[in-house]
Symmetry: C2
Subunit: 408 residues, 2 copies
């Protein structure tokens, strides 16, 4: 019997009525002739409530105890979901992360999955049960409860699908799938039927927050196909899978945008070994998360270095960069918020020149000034003024013909 | 280092402020030179909230899933309590029932403790940690989560104290200890410094709801001394321990009362083997819980049988008893609510005649009519009209000199 792993996020199980809705979908999936494992998150709001409770007893709750506390959120959902399925005449059994055999390292609040021993899951599936597994959590070899950090429930689902060699892993969320661009920005944006792991990774790291990168990376590593779809309707979603060998046809898959960015430029940085390292080590020590870094070739022994970050990170900088710049004998430091990043993503562009040219041309014609450019194998990102981002997204969406050619 | 097991009930950990209060007591106990294991219940109201959630997804939630759901209540408290202790500079680690090695049978929602493997607790204690253990829960050999039913957290504490051979088990609750009688009924009632297991058992089964009988029975079986005391002050409570051999001095320890009782009398029951069995098997099959049963010696081949029960049980009877009475050829069936039970308890009365006489005399002088009498080794119970119960309690409390002689 083919095995389907389904994952339902916090909004999909946000109240008893929605849990019953999920239960109905699950029972139908089993009736259609599948074995089913369901991974659920905490009901929306529950985790925040628990964090608030913790803050009331401790200014700095221990990570180990935070995990014990937060793990109750998913445990509540698995019990309720199993009850709901049983009430509908199905046969379900709930399993905590530990019971499901999710073994992790000991880094509390952001543990990594070390291994999965799906012995219990297999046993229950063989007996005809639907297994309801708590996402986001596991245990160490020593039996301590751990949580996997942000996006952990997706990771649980993908990892279980990998361990059980599931036919498909369905990630249910509150969006219909992955779009060529944010439909609120570009009304002509279309839902993609298929996207490849690397493309979704670039989309994810560029602001399309359908899924955390780590889950996509895990799926890619273990070749787990999955589908991103909505729990509030029965529309097919977007299937994410391995790129076929020799793919040449599609050039650009989608456009993703990220607002509220900031940029820092250090001028006249002496072109000596170690200067870049000094700058970015200082930033890393201050826990400032950097996105794009651009450095041009050196002219006359000095260069300009620019980097971008989330606008909220700018405040963390203080005089840090000014101090480092003075120390390394650089020129001015220019800090600027109010910018945004537009990324054009597609595996096909690896072997196609002309994508960059087309992007720059459409933006230039449309009066959008490009401040920085950064490229990877399958992405071209440009930094522009934030108030131009919607206009730019529409221009690029049009230029690459995404409204008409939304399917793979 | 001596080991103290402390148990805090739902009201004692009812909110973050109270959890911090508990944390302070625990840290002080450790600082006084003890190893400490703390057993906590779910915060008051939490369990009811979870049951309500369950009812919203299922009319008849499965017992297994109910246990998974309810177990989150204590898991939340252990994490918060450990955090609070850590925030106060203590070293605490939380353990679920499963982690603490509480092994139970598989009867979900009312599991019995089968064994305790306190390996983890010992390890953490040896490392100087305070162990915070979730009460009320355990796991089966197969790894299923179970709960112990009513009074389960007390049982967890007593069982851990037994397994670890603790010096003392302190049961913190919202009362100061065990009293000679309910102080709301008899203003002169005194707190007892000491009471013996059997006495507390008789008090418990007679309406003094300090603790469930099963926990006292467990403590008696494994000779675990424990103290019932309040978490809201620092007063010493009541120590419950083994009866010394040859105890002769104290006659009556206390008076307990139980209101809202009902009585059923079947007249003219033929005095043949099997008739009593017919009656009480029928009651048992209908899950009616019976308290006192009285049958007098047979006169002329027929007898009257009376029994009492909680007033709420009376409605469950329907025509059951009338049918059985007709079937066995008995006379009338008389059902009567509005009665109450008064019990005089004390180990000493085993070897003292005169206790019954003194009780009957003081009630008779006070104008209280006795409807039924039932005695055990260490208890005399009388059934009287409910509106006379307070008066009767005061009369008996006075007659046995309990106001003056409250200490063992």
């Amino acid at each position: 019997m083919p095995l389907i792993v389904q994952k339902y996020g916090g909004t999909s199980v946000g109240n008893p009525e929605r849990i019953l809705n999920v239960a109905r979908r699950v029972v139908e999936t089993q009736k259609a002739g599948n074995s089913v494992v369901v991974v659920v998150s905490a009901m929306s709001g529950v985790t925040d409530g628990l964090i608030k409770l913790a803050r009331q007893v401790s200014g700095a709750p221990t990570d180990r105890e935070m995990d014990v506390l937060l793990a109750t959120g998913e445990q509540t959902t698995i019990a309720l979901t199993a009850m709901a399925i049983n009430a509908l005449g199905g046969k379900a059994v709930s399993l905590t992360g530990a019971q499901a055999g999710i073994l992790t390292d000991g880094i509390h609040t952001k543990a990594k999955i070390a291994n999965i021993s799906p012995r219990q899951i297999r046993k229950h599936l063989n007996e005809g049960f639907i297994c309801i597994v708590a996402g986001f959590q596991g245990q160490t070899l020593q039996g301590h409860i751990t949580t996997l950090g942000r996006g952990g429930s997706d990771l649980t689902a993908i990892a279980i699908a990998a361990a059980l060699k599931a036919k498909m892993c369905e990630i249910y969320t509150d969006v219909d799938g992955v779009y060529t661009c944010d439909p609120r920005v570009v009304p002509g944006a279309k839902k993609l039927d298929v996207i490849y792991y690397d493309e979704l990774l670039e989309m994810a790291s560029s602001g399309s927050k359908v899924m955390q990168s780590r889950s996509v990376e895990f799926a890619k590593k273990f070749k787990v196909p999955f589908e991103v779809r909505s729990s509030f309707n029965t529309n097919r979603g977007t299937i994410v899978k391995e790129e076929p060998i020799g793919l040449e046809n599609v050039v650009v898959r989608g456009i993703s945008i990220e607002r509220n960015q900031a940029k820092v430029t250090i001028t006249n940085v002496p072109d000596k070994p170690g200067t870049a390292s000094r700058i970015f080590t200082a930033l890393s020590d201050a826990h400032v998360i950097i996105d794009v870094i651009v450095q041009n070739v050196s002219v006359s022994g000095a260069t300009d270095i620019s980097f971008t970050m989330n606008g909220d990170e700018l405040a963390k900088l203080g005089s840090l960069i000014d101090d480092v710049a003075a120390e390394i004998g650089a020129g001015n430091v220019i800090k600027k918020g109010g910018i945004a990043k537009l990324s054009v993503v597609g595996i096909g562009m690896r072997s196609h020149s002309g994508v960059a040219a087309k992007l720059f041309e459409c933006l230039g014609h449309g009066g959008v000034n490009i401040q920085m450019i950064s490229t990877s194998e399958i992405k071209i990102a440009v930094i522009i003024d934030e108030d131009k981002i919607e206009h730019a997204a529409k221009l690029a969406h049009e230029a690459f013909g995404l409204s008409e050619a939304a399917t793979a």
